[in-house]
Amino acid sequence: MAQSSTDRIEKKVVLRAPRARVWRALTDWKEFGQWFGVIMAGPFTPGARLKGKITHKGYEDAPFEITIERMEPERLFSYRWHPYAHDLKVDYSAEPTTLVVFELQESGEGTLLTVVESGFDRIPLARRAEAYRMNDQGWAEQMKSIERHVAQGR
């Protein structure tokens, strides 16, 4: 089944650094923690389930856990987690996870990094937010696009 537009967030960024450097920043658990804003409990290896402590103010006590999926050196790194899992009173473990995939490609200026977070359609909390993404064209226009989306048999 084709992925719907509401299922994913995609970001692309060109980093003026070699792939080896970017790979290290993504997969070295200490380096990852520095830019991501979380103190991880240990090194990243495929299959590892790791807890972390968020360093952003206001989130310090929020549960944080990732499960590493794939690590293909200097090419692909992926993990699963629970998005929005910020409420201490809620047990998120039974909810579906989203998959975060980092892909590295050589680019003239350095490294093209693509980040895709997908699986939002299975998460009630998130799926409808994107479906109702509105723009300046207004409500009626937005509704038509949702109608088309729904008509495609979801």
């Binding site: 991501f36 937010a129 993404r133």
Partner: protein
């Protein structure tokens, strides 16, 4: 409390507040109703049912779920009840996914700063 801490707390509260909205919309029939009301509303239950294979009872039930989440409102007009969309909770719900997107932008900006140093 730092401004950033306050902001994070506000985000968290807003996400939780939108949860009933997401739940109400987590159904194809209700999503279609919202689409119809948003495009052609206000509409009566008869109009909403016409040309679909959804029963009047089912539409009524779904409209009440939407109303409980603050997404739709029914008002008596003459002999029938007309239903209309309440867009404010939807706008709020839509902002929630924008928050995740924004958090990625912020994280990637920090990554960029780290590797280009």
């Amino acid at each position: 409390m730092s401004p950033r801490g306050a902001e994070a707390r506000t985000r968290s509260v807003r996400l939780r507040a939108s949860a009933p909205v997401f739940a109400a919309l987590g159904d194809a029939t209700r999503l279609r109703l919202v689409t119809r009301l948003g495009t052609n509303g206000p509409l009566s239950i008869a109009r909403l049912t016409a040309g679909t294979d959804v029963t009047r009872q089912a539409v009524t039930k779904h409209l009440h779920v939407l109303a409980d989440a603050g997404l739709a409102r029914g008002a008596r007009r003459g002999r029938e009840r007309l239903w209309k969309l309440e867009p404010a909770p939807l706008e709020e719900a839509r902002r929630c996914l924008d928050l995740i997107s924004q958090q990625w932008d912020e994280a990637l900006a920090r990554l960029k700063a780290a590797v280009e140093r």
